[in-house]
Each structure stands twice: as structure tokens, then as C-alpha cells.
């Protein structure tokens, strides 16, 4: 009985700890959101400051280059198509990989081609 009691007690504290941990995890999830928002805010301000000074000459290359950067979704596509759970997600991931790669590779290449002309 003694052992049983001790065990029950242990289970009790253990459950509490788990509850605590779960709460902490949930908390930290929300904090991940907040830090995501913080990062978003900073990047938006930074983007605005970076581009504010761009001369008209570079509008076209900037659009095509930044468009290539927005192909960063490729990272998400790889994550989606690379999981083992397969099926529909892999299919969607595959489509996304194809499209994002077109965007990335085509975008950077064509920008490079254009900018070559600006070099003297």
C-alpha cells in the first residue's frame, strides 16, 4: 500500500507538472506568434526604408528580383512535400515546389540578365 500511495502521489504531482508544461507550451506558442508579428513589423519597416530611395531606372529589375525573393515559399513547399505523411499533402507540396522553383530560378536569372545591361 505504501508504494501504491507513493505512486499515486507521484502521479498526482506528475499530472500537475504536465498541466504546467502544457500551459507553458501553449504560452510559448502565443509568444511565437508575437515574435512573428514583431519580425513582420521590423521587416516591413526595413523594406520600406530600403526601397524608398530606388531610382526609376531600377524599377523593373527590382520588381523582378523581389518577385524572385517572394519565391521563398519554396521553403514551405519543400516542408510540405518532404513529409512522410504523403498523399494529398505531398501532391500539393510537389505542385508548390514546381511553381515556386519556376518563380525563384526564372526570377533571379532574368533579373541577372537585365542587370547585366546596366553594368558598364
Amino acid at each position: 500500500m505504501h508504494t501504491l500511495l507513493a505512486l499515486e502521489e507521484k502521479v498526482g504531482t506528475v499530472s500537475e507538472t504536465i498541466a504546467d508544461a502544457a500551459a507553458a507550451i501553449q504560452q510559448s506558442q502565443s509568444l511565437v506568434l508575437v515574435s512573428g508579428l514583431t519580425i513582420f513589423m521590423l521587416a516591413v519597416f526595413l523594406g520600406i526604408e530600403l526601397i524608398a530611395k530606388i531610382p526609376p531606372t531600377l524599377h523593373t529589375p527590382l520588381m523582378s528580383g523581389s518577385n524572385a525573393i517572394s519565391g521563398i515559399t519554396l521553403v514551405g513547399a519543400i516542408l510540405a512535400s518532404g513529409t512522410d505523411h504523403g498523399g494529398f499533402a505531398t501532391f500539393l507540396g510537389f505542385l508548390a515546389v514546381v511553381m515556386a522553383t519556376v518563380n525563384v530560378v526564372g526570377g533571379f536569372l532574368v533579373t541577372h540578365r537585365m542587370l547585366q545591361k546596366f553594368k558598364r
Binding site: F40, A43, G47, G65, T73, L74, S81, F108, H112
Partner: protein, 462 residues
């Protein structure tokens, strides 16, 4: 790699994206900036491939090979004047990728315990779907319009479209709320469908002078879609890269609005209707005087200043190298030659600059619109090559014109204005141009490249 290392790699990749964008703001560093950007992408992709979640590589490799092949092929073979279309198409692909990634993630979460479906994640998923889908159809329509496909021109906005758009937007908000409370792939794809329709409707009704604004805006959207996907996956590099692009697109949109003298709401929800009360071509073109290359050559020989105003037609005719030769020839004869660059000449912001740079025309001859306009009355000859809407005085004088209020290059105020184009057919906005029958205007009909070469030959002979 452990999550921490992967995230540190993402940090490095984000730094390269920032340096890349920064580099792209100056002609000297732009090439390097683009390389930095692609390096950042490479780092992010490699780090992701090494993530513990990624276990099967087959489809990734196939996808990258297929996508890379297509991208490379188009990037290398596309002609410079077609580039705007291609960039629009690529932009649409980026939006589509966000739709699929968010959808795939949602599907995977279906198999996980419900805690993984936090409100913010589901909300971000819906957002990524909406922005991505709007970007997709919007870019496809923009692509069609830029490529000047016939059938796109035939697609007319529905009557009462404003109301329909508003209703669709409300519906999206409502469905998002439903989905947040009741996460499921079904709702997601419904949302995506509606957003696709919205993207189509929003873009189909925008035309003429407003397209540059829309193109910049779609650029911004593709970034925002990526950022929303970043919130779905809790992935900082997606958030950073996406919002950098979103912000830069927003700034460009603003720049375009200013250049077109439009407000953003006016572009998005602005008056539609094909300006039925505009004068017809027959009314306008009563006094058109046609000229010959020889006559133009003679005019040039006695001129002391020439302003060349290039437009989309110069790109179509691939005339930029011929134009450079003409420029050099005139400058050798001590004639002062400058170029008047309208901010939306061509089919993409800054398009003319790229084309003229391609032909090695020195930067310092390229003047912005305002500078050109301030000197145009003292200019002997204004040579318009394949430009139309950007020199249409209707924008200045006719408040009912679809391009009313857009600043133009005042080619009609030069002492003599010579216009090179193939016919009297209209430009992108589809409206007649009173410049062509102005008293001081002479039309040199013909293909842009051929006409310029004819002028060169005539000057050599003369």
C-alpha cells in the same frame, strides 16, 4: 540539422535578402544585390532540405528539376520586351505556391491533435490562401493584358461589379471566421475558390493608365502571401523575405500612383466604363500629316536639340540599337540629344530604362519626365518612337478621357514633333491620340527599327 541551426541558417539567409534588396537600389551594386538574393535563397533551401521533417526527397527533386528547367528556359529565351508578361506570370506562380503550401499544411495538421490548430495558425492559413489566390488570378489576368491577348480584351467587367467585389470580400471574411472556429480543408478550398474569383474580378476591370499600379500591387501581394505562409509554418525567413517584398511592392505601388497621378483606392475601385463619351478616331484624325525619312533627316540636320521619347513600340520593334546609332550620329554633329523617359512607358515600371541600357545608351542622356517637360518648348524636334498613351495630350486636356490626369510628356509642345509608328492604331489604353493631328506633328509610318534606320541612311546621304 537541429531546429536551432536551421533557424540560424534562415537568419543568415534573411541577411542576404536584406543585403540583396539594398544592393538592388543602386545601379552599381544591383548585380551583386541580385546575387546576394539568390545566395540567400540557396542557403534557405539547403537548410530546409536538412530539416528533420523532410524525409522523402523524390518529389522535391523532381519538382525542383521541372520548375528549375521551366524557369531557366523562359528566363534565357524571353525577349526583353516580353519580360513584363513573364514577370507577371512568375508572380502568379508565387501566389499559387503559397496557396498550395498553406493547403498542404492544413491537411497535415488534420492528422495532428487539435492543439496544433491554434486560432492564429488557422487564420494565417486562410490569409495565405486568400492573398495567394488573388495574386494568382490577378497576375494571370495582368499577364494576359500585358501580352495583349485578344480574348482578355473581350472579357468585360460585369455590371455592378463593385457590389459583387464587395460581397465576395465580405463572404471571404465570413468564411474565414467559420474556418477559424471549425478548421477543415473543405472550408479552405472554398475560400481559395472565392479568392480566385475575386482576384479575377479585381484585375479585369482595371485598364489603361492604371495597370502599372496593379502590377506593382500584385508584386507586393506575392510577398504578403509568402509572409502569411510564414505565420502558418512559424517560419521566420518566410516572414522576413515575404514582408520585405510586400513592403517594397507597396512603395513601388505608391511611386506608380504618384507617377500616374492616381490614388490607390481610385485605381482599385475607380470608375470603370469605357469612357463612351471620348471622341472617335475618325473625329480626331482629321489633320494627320505623313512624312518621309528624308524629310525627317533634313529637319534633324538643322536642329540643335532633339528629345527622343521612346515607348512600348520601340521595344516591340527592337529598335533600341538603331536608336543608339542615331543618337551617336546626331551627337557627333553637335546636336544635343536627350531621352524623355515617361515613368510608365512600356509595360512595366522602368521598362524603357532596361531597354535603353541594353543598347548601351549612356545613363546621363536619360531624363525623367519633369525635366524633359521643363525644356520641351525650347526643343527643336521631339522624336516619338512607338510611344502613344504617354504622349497623349488628352490626358492633360480632356477630363473625360480614361487616362485623364495622368502626367504625360508634352511632345505636342515641342517646335516640331515627329511620331514613328506603324499606323494610327491606339496604344495600351485603346484611345485615339490628338497629338497625331496636331499642327506641329508629322507622322513617319513604319516599323520603328526600319524607320530609324531609314533616317540614319538619309542623314548619311544628305
Amino acid at each position: 540539422m537541429s531546429p536551432v541551426w536551421i533557424n540560424l541558417s534562415y537568419l543568415v539567409s534573411a541577411i542576404f535578402f536584406i543585403l540583396g534588396l539594398k544592393g538592388m537600389t543602386r545601379p552599381k551594386t544591383a548585380v551583386r544585390g541580385n546575387l546576394y538574393g539568390s545566395l540567400g535563397m540557396l542557403i534557405a533551401v539547403i537548410a530546409t532540405l536538412l530539416a528533420a521533417e523532410v524525409v522523402s526527397y523524390v518529389w522535391i527533386i523532381v519538382g525542383v528539376l521541372v520548375g528549375g528547367g521551366i524557369g531557366t528556359y523562359f528566363a534565357i529565351t524571353i525577349k526583353m520586351e516580353k519580360m513584363p508578361e513573364m514577370v507577371a506570370l512568375f508572380n502568379g506562380f508565387g501566389g499559387a505556391a503559397s496557396v498550395f503550401v498553406a493547403g498542404g499544411d492544413l491537411w497535415l495538421r488534420g492528422a495532428l491533435p487539435p492543439e496544433s490548430m491554434s486560432t492564429s495558425v488557422i487564420f494565417s492559413t486562410a490569409l495565405a490562401g486568400i492573398i495567394g489566390a488573388v495574386t494568382l488570378t490577378g497576375s494571370l489576368i495582368a499577364f494576359g493584358k500585358l501580352a495583349e491577348f485578344r480574348f482578355i480584351k473581350k472579357l468585360k467587367p460585369l455590371p455592378g461589379q463593385q457590389v459583387i467585389n464587395g460581397a465576395l470580400a465580405m463572404l471571404l471574411v465570413a468564411l474565414t471566421a467559420v474556418m477559424v472556429n471549425n478548421p477543415g480543408s473543405g472550408w479552405y478550398w472554398l475560400i481559395v475558390l472565392i479568392a480566385l474569383a475575386l482576384g479575377y474580378l479585381l484585375t479585369i476591370s482595371i485598364g489603361g493608365a492604371d495597370m502599372p499600379v496593379v502590377i506593382a500591387l500584385l508584386n507586393s501581394y506575392s510577398g504578403l502571401a509568402a509572409a502569411a505562409t510564414g505565420f502558418v509554418l512559424g517560419n521566420s525567413v518566410l516572414i522576413i523575405a515575404g514582408s520585405l517584398v510586400g513592403a517594397s511592392g507597396l512603395i513601388l505601388t505608391q511611386v506608380m500612383c504618384k507617377a500616374m497621378n492616381r490614388s490607390l483606392p481610385a485605381v482599385l475601385f475607380g470608375s470603370l466604363g469605357p469612357a463612351a463619351d471620348g471622341p472617335s478616331a475618325d473625329e480626331v484624325y482629321t489633320n494627320v500629316k505623313s512624312t518621309s525619312a528624308d524629310e525627317v533627316a533634313m529637319l534633324m540636320e538643322v536642329a540643335s536639340s532633339v528629345v527622343i521619347v521612346p515607348g512600348y513600340g520601340m521595344a516591340v520593334a527592337q529598335a533600341q540599337h538603331a536608336v543608339r546609332d542615331l543618337t551617336n550620329m546626331l551627337r557627333e554633329r553637335d546636336i544635343n540629344v536627350t531621352f524623355g523617359i515617361h515613368p510608365v512607358a512600356g509595360r512595366m515600371p522602368g521598362h524603357m530604362n532596361v531597354l535603353l541600357a541594353e543598347a548601351d545608351i549612356p545613363y546621363d542622356l536619360l531624363k525623367e519626365m519633369d525635366e524633359t517637360n521643363s525644356e520641351i518648348e525650347q526643343t527643336d524636334i521631339c522624336l516619338v518612337i512607338g510611344a502613344n498613351d504617354t504622349v497623349n495630350p488628352d490626358a492633360r486636356t480632356n477630363p473625360n478621357s480614361p487616362i485623364a490626369g495622368m502626367p504625360i510628356i508634352n511632345a505636342d509642345k515641342a517646335k516640331t514633333c515627329v511620331v514613328i509608328k506603324r499606323s494610327l492604331s491606339p496604344g495600351f489604353a485603346g484611345i485615339p491620340n490628338p497629338l497625331f493631328s496636331a499642327d506641329n506633328a508629322l507622322m513617319l509610318f513604319g516599323d520603328g527599327k526600319q524607320a530609324v534606320n531609314d533616317i540614319i541612311a538619309a542623314i548619311k546621304e544628305g
